[in-house]
Symmetry: C2
Subunit: 215 residues, 2 copies
Amino acid sequence: MGITDRKLRQKEEVRASILDTAWEMVVTEGWQSFSIRKIADAIEYSVPVIYSHFENKDAILLEFNRKGFQLLNEALAKAKAATDIPAEQIRAMGRAYWDFAFQNKEYYQLMFGLGIPTCETVNKIPAIASFSDTIISTLVAMVAPGRKPSFDPFLKYQSFWSMLHGLVSINMSALGNRPDAPSGHEHANLPLQVLGDVMCSFIRGIEAQENEQPN
Amino acid sequence: MGITDRKLRQKEEVRASILDTAWEMVVTEGWQSFSIRKIADAIEYSVPVIYSHFENKDAILLEFNRKGFQLLNEALAKAKAATDIPAEQIRAMGRAYWDFAFQNKEYYQLMFGLGIPTCETVNKIPAIASFSDTIISTLVAMVAPGRKPSFDPFLKYQSFWSMLHGLVSINMSALGNRPDAPSGHEHANLPLQVLGDVMCSFIRGIEAQENEQPN
DNA sequence: AATTTTGCCTAACGGTGTTACAAAAAGTAA
DNA sequence: TTACTTTTTGTAACACCGTTAGGCAAAATT
C-alpha cells in the first residue's frame, strides 16, 4: 500500500515540523513564547492539527524533555569514556554537565528549571534512570572494593548532582553575579573556578571516606 | 485632615488584603492558581482596583520575593546566633536554609524556582545582598586571619549556596526519589543525610585549605 | 457514481493580564 | 441644601492563551 505509506510519511513530516518549529521558536524567543497557536501559525496549519499529533501542550514538552536527557546522557558518556580513572571520570562528567547546561540553556531550563518534574514525568523518561546509572556506577568504581564502611552511592550521587545543579542554576540566573561587580571582566571565569572548587571537595570527600576505618 | 488619614488607612487595608488573600490562595492551591482575576474575586473588588495598588502581576510577586528573602535572612541570622564557632555557624545555617525551604515551599519556589531572577529583580531586593553578606562574613571568620593563601570568600559562598540550592530543588521535585524505591519509609530521611554529607565535605574542604602552605 | 472515511478549518468556550472609559460615590464650596 | 469637582470603582473591551465541538470538502473505497 503506497498510499498509506505516503500518508504515514506525510503525517510524520508534520509532526517533525511541529517539533522543529517549536524548538526554533524557543531557542530564538525563549520559553515564554512557546504557544500552540504560534506553532500552528508557523507551520501554516490550524490549531487542531497539532492536537492530532500531541495530546496537549505538555506532551510536546515531554518530547523535548526526552531529547534533552538523551543529549545530556550522550555528553556524560562521552566525557566518561575519555579516561579510565574513576575520579577523573567524575571530574569530566561534572564539566560535561556544566557545558551541556550552558550550551543548551533552553533544554536545561525545561529539564530542571521550569515545571518541577512530577513522578509521572520521571517515569515517562527512561533516560533519567540512565543518567543516574552512569553517575552511580562511576562512584561505585571510585571506592576500592572491600573497604568502604559507610559508603552510600545513591547518597553521593545526590550530593554530586545537587552541587552541579545548584551551581548551574545559580549561574544561569542573575543571582550568580558578584555583588560588588567592579569593572567587568575581572572574574569572568569565576563560575568555572567554583565548579572546580566544588568538584575537588567532593572527590576529596569520597577519597577521605575511603580511608575510613571499618567500624 | 482626618479624612485623608482614613483614606490612606483604607487604601492600605485593601493593599494588605490583596497580599494576604493572594498568599492564602497560593498556599492552598499552588502557584498555578495565582491570578489577578481570582484575587479580585476573593477581595470582592473589581480587577482595576488591584492595578491601582500594584503596577502589574510581577509587582505583587516582587513583594512576595521581598518577604521571602526577609524570612530567610531571619532564619539564617537566628541559626548563626546560636553558636560562636564559625564552622558550626555554617552548619547551622545550612540546616536553617534547608528547613526554610521545606517549611515555606511556596516562598522557595518563587524565590529560586519559578521565574529565573533577572538583574533588575535582584537589584530591587536588598535582602538578597544581606543574604550573601551573612554567609560570606561567616566564611571569612572560618579561616584564621593571616594564613589563607588562596581563599576566595565569594567563591566559597557560591559553592555553599550551590550545594544547598541544588539539594533543595532536587529533593523538592520528584527527581530526588530513589529509583528502586523498595517498601517506602526505608530511607525516609536520606535527604537530611545528604545534607549532612555535603556540609561535611564543604567544611572539611575549607579547613583543609586553611592548612595549605602559602606559595 | 455513490458512499464512507479522512483531514482540516472555523468558531467557539473559558481562561489569562491589562487598560480605556464611563458611572457612581465622596468631598468641597456656595 | 445644592452645585461642582475630585476620587474611586466597575463595566467592558482587547489581545492573548489551551482546548475542543462540529461541519465542510477532499480523498479513498465500494
